[in-house]
């Protein structure tokens, strides 16, 4: 996978479009087991990211991802703010100074992001959270020879599996067993993020070819 600084920027912009398009659906998922603000928060946060990064020139993948993280931390009031913000911040540290990120470095960035999410949310895999998508995606990425489409497919399957998990974190945890049968909103927005990577990689390939 060819993840250049420009591709990383396009990734974040594509993610913003996807969050905007799925705003209603994300909030619907969140209304069932949370407080119903996830679509609004993600769409708003990524709209601010777009404002921040769209017209700015970056030298490294870490720089653009860090700007996104600081914007999300400042502008997203719900749980998604500190969680996505920390994820991007940790990944940006690994990708700092790199105009292009290798498959191995991409996986290292994901690993750092996951450690950040787990620490910030005091969470682990199997608790019906975004980690239930990020961890399988990391495992796929660690195999090497990364194909964005394969990552997105892994993310989709992992997201769908959250339907059968009982929530242990966030407001959904109050519902206990009643949270089973609903998709996790954070898992769904994470799937959208990895889906957006496919769009950015494809667009980057066309631009280069």
């Amino acid at each position: 996978m060819n993840l250049t600084t420009e591709t990383a920027k396009q990734w974040l912009l594509a993610a913003g479009r996807d969050m905007q398009e799925n705003k209603g659906y994300l909030s619907e998922l969140d209304q069932a087991i949370g407080d119903g603000d996830h679509g609004h928060n993600m769409a708003r946060g990524f709209a601010e990211v777009e404002k921040k990064i769209a017209s700015k020139t970056y030298d490294d993948v870490g720089g653009v991802v860090k700007d996104a993280s600081m914007t999300i931390i400042s502008k997203v009031g719900g749980a998604a703010g500190p969680l996505y913000g920390t994820a991007f911040l940790k990944a940006s540290g690994v990708w700092k100074g790199k105009a292009e990120v290798s498959d191995e470095e991409f996986a290292e960035g994901l690993k750092a992001a996951i450690d950040g999410i787990a620490q910030r949310g005091k969470s682990e895999q199997g608790q019906k959270t975004m980690l239930d998508v990020w961890i399988p995606v990391l495992q796929e990425a660690e195999k090497g020879n990364i194909e964005a489409e394969q990552l997105a497919q892994t993310a989709k399957e992992a997201m769908e599996k959250t339907e059968g998990i009982e929530a242990k974190k966030g407001r959904a945890a109050y519902l206990g067993e009643r949270s089973i049968g609903h998709l996790d909103p954070g898992a769904y927005s994470s799937y959208l993020l990895f889906e957006a990577l496919v769009e950015a990689i494809e667009a980057g390939g066309e631009a280069n070819g």
Binding site: D37, I73, S74, G77, G78, A79, P82, R120, G170
Partner: protein, 132 residues
């Protein structure tokens, strides 16, 4: 002598300000209580930037007790603490209901108690039986 400060973090600006309004009736003049409620644009949520500002205002050598209302308020408080480095006093996050907790916090601070003692008393407010 410096007294322990209190910061109240809530998803709602009005709720945080309301707690301060209530507590101001009880507290001594030299005890500092600061609200950090809502997002920057006044919406529902919490903001690490607003929490950082509140922590800086409350900062003193005796330290600060932070009270928070719901889950992501804790995450954003921890985030604010990660980003701040130049505070004079120690900051502790107390696990307690915000109204009762803030009340105990300012009363104990007013008596000149140390940070850990104030925190301990504040966290006992979780088990108050209010009907007897």
């Amino acid at each position: 002598m410096a007294k322990v400060s209190t910061v109240v973090v809530s998803h709602s600006r009005q709720l945080a300000d309301g707690v301060i309004e209530l507590i101001n009736q009880t507290k001594q003049e030299d005890v500092i209580v600061i609200a950090a409620g809502g997002t920057e644009d006044g919406g529902i949520g919490t903001s690490p930037d607003l929490i950082s500002e509140a922590l800086k205002k409350a900062d003193n050598p005796a330290g600060t007790v932070v009270l928070f209302d719901l889950g992501s308020a804790l995450m954003n408080t921890e985030m604010a603490l990660d980003m701040l480095d130049e505070l004079e006093g120690e900051v502790v996050i107390a696990d307690a209901p915000i109204v009762e907790g803030a009340y105990v916090s300012v009363v104990e601070a007013g008596m000149g108690k140390a940070l850990k003692e104030v925190q301990e008393s504040v966290e006992k407010a979780k088990k108050w039986n209010k009907k007897t």
